[in-house]
């Protein structure tokens, strides 16, 4: 893409550049600090943490906290570690992200290429779902899931996350497709292509960048959700609930090193997604979503 190789918008002098590098590095330190605190304390024995300096390097390095968090720490009555919950999260996140992204793409396609009277109203109304605080919907959502027989099941959780995700995904795809020339769609229509054919052959192949944005956004939000997972997860609780169970001991001994190791473990999938897909993220944002 042109974006990566193009000249900068405005260039600056040499001294200014040194200053800029310094500032950028300083901010990088600021962003990395909490990760440093977590990482460094996850490889220390507990006594060094409660008795000593949180920022210091360990005197004794140990990987036991990591092993414990992954496979032997007590999560509820079973000493299973976080391992089994990882799969629960995957089983919930993958369908929820896939469905909300596909639905968002189709919605965006309709709202830009098959416009009808009042379509902006429909879109505006749907967008408000992005802004509703989750605590508010907990009780009515429980009622509805109970009526549907989906309470305490993975499909129920997937439904919840799809419902509150389509506002965002529709927004992303709508803005992206808005920039796509409608003439191409009309031409294909004249050639006799149908609704789904046009979507499949013409729009989908160019949707890569925005699909990345949508997937990253949805993946992070759903993976990190605790409230819905704890309330509607039933016996297949996601990893955040397990992590919370690990770190929120009520009156027991707090093993901070294990907590931090568990915290990093639980965050690995989202970190992975950000570090790997991060470059496409900016590209995807550039390709449309911020153009309003």
């Amino acid at each position: 893409m042109a974006a990566v190789t193009q000249d900068t918008a405005v260039s600056m002098g040499r001294i200014a550049r040194v200053f800029i590098y310094l500032l950028l590095l300083l901010f990088a330190l600021f962003y990395l600090l909490p990760l440093y605190v977590m990482g460094i304390n996850s490889v220390k024995p507990l006594a060094e943490i409660t008795g000593g300096n949180m920022m210091a390097l360990p005197q004794v390095w140990t990987l036991d906290p990591w092993r414990s968090a992954w496979s032997t720490a007590q999560i509820g009555v079973e000493p299973t570690g976080l391992k089994p919950y990882f799969l629960n999260s995957i089983l919930m996140v993958v369908p929820a992200v896939a469905i909300s992204t596909i639905v968002g793409a189709l919605n965006g396609y309709v709202l830009t290429k098959w416009r009808f009277r009042g379509d902006t109203w429909v879109f505006g109304l749907m967008l408000f779902s992005c802004f509703i605080p989750f605590q508010i919907v907990l009780i009515p959502m429980a009622m509805v899931l109970g009526k549907l027989g989906l309470a305490g099941t993975v499909p129920g959780l997937v439904l919840v996350h799809v419902v509150y995700g389509i506002g965002f995904t529709t927004l992303y795809f709508r803005n992206y497709y808005a920039a796509f020339p409608t003439e191409l769609v009309r031409a294909a229509q004249i050639d006799g292509a149908g609704f789904f054919q046009i979507f499949w052959r013409i729009l989908l192949p160019v949707s890569g960048p925005i699909a990345v944005v949508s997937v990253i956004w949805q993946f992070t939000n759903i993976w990190n959700d605790f409230l819905f997972g704890a309330s509607f997860g039933g016996t297949s609780q996601p990893m955040t609930v397990a992590l919370n169970n690990l770190v929120q001991s009520s009156t027991g001994v707090k093993e901070y090193n294990v907590h931090f190791a568990g915290a990093i473990l639980a965050a690995l999938p989202t970190l992975f997604v950000y570090f790997v897909a991060g470059r496409y993220f900016v590209r995807g944002l550039m390709a449309g979503s911020v153009k309003g």
Binding site: Q6, T8, A9, V10, I20, L24, F27, A28, F30, Y31, L32, P34, L35, V37, M38, N53, M54, M55, V103, N107, V110, T120, V122, G124, L125, M126, L127, F128, F131, I132, P133, Q135, I136, V137, I139, P140, M141, V144, V163, I166, A178, N224, F226, V247, F260, A263, A266, A267, T270, L271, Y274, G278, R279, F281, V282, L285, M286, A287, V290, G292
Partner: protein, 295 residues
Amino acid sequence: MSTAPDFRTRLQDWLPKLVLAPSFAVTLLFVYGFIAFTVLLSFTGSKMLPSYNFVGWLNYQKLWALPAWNTAIVNIAIFASLYIIICTAVGLALAIFLDQKIRGEGVLRPIYLYPMALSFIVTGTAWKWFLDPGIGLEKVMHLWGWESFSFTWIKDGDMAIYTIVIAAVWQTSGFVMAMFLAGLRGIDNEILKAAQIDGASNWQLYRRIVIPLLRPAFLSAFVILSHLAIKSYDLVVALTGGGPGRATEMPATFMYSYTFTRNQMGIGASSAVIMLMTIAAIMVPYLYAELKEKK
């Protein structure tokens, strides 16, 4: 047979609406239906579970008489305005700097972005420790010989709200940076070159041309940041638990505690209604302006 093609074209006409309909229906039920339900609850004397004995405006009267609610309102005003301004400023600055053909941009960008990937269940403890004078930054500075260094905001009822701003800025400013960076990369360089030839300074270029061109990015950032500010719950719970005392109570924590832990669901619902009205007051004009423009 003339009905078959007729049916097909009719189907083609209806198909887009049929595709959109489920999403719309789901939104009506799960967003507007639930909001209506919350409004209804706010007029009932619900305690532990929803009940339907109506008490009129009583919950709202009680709500506004509670000192904690007033604290929450003041806090959200301080928090939201600082958070939005600082995040936007930091995000814009980082984006402009990163856009200067920086070596290692590929490394720096994910570092700036990654906090958005973590939930506060994960980072809350790390932040709490870092801000804690006894074990975090202040102690480290003392160990490094800067004895007079003092940073006790998180322990200070008047200042604790600002530590929440710091952590919140940490979490989202990188994301805002990405939005501005995308905006910057989308600007047509010919315009800038022309202005440079006309002798405009860097400062003028940014102030007169670049920043106005980033208007859509500003708006998107504003929407995302303001809704995160109003929703902010995990952050407060993880960092200060609403303390010291109840100095960092926010509407979201207030609503949760009255609905779920204090068994005063009616009052919780009324605070939720106020929150929703605030969100609507911010979002509706924005959406109206944005959507009208493109008609």
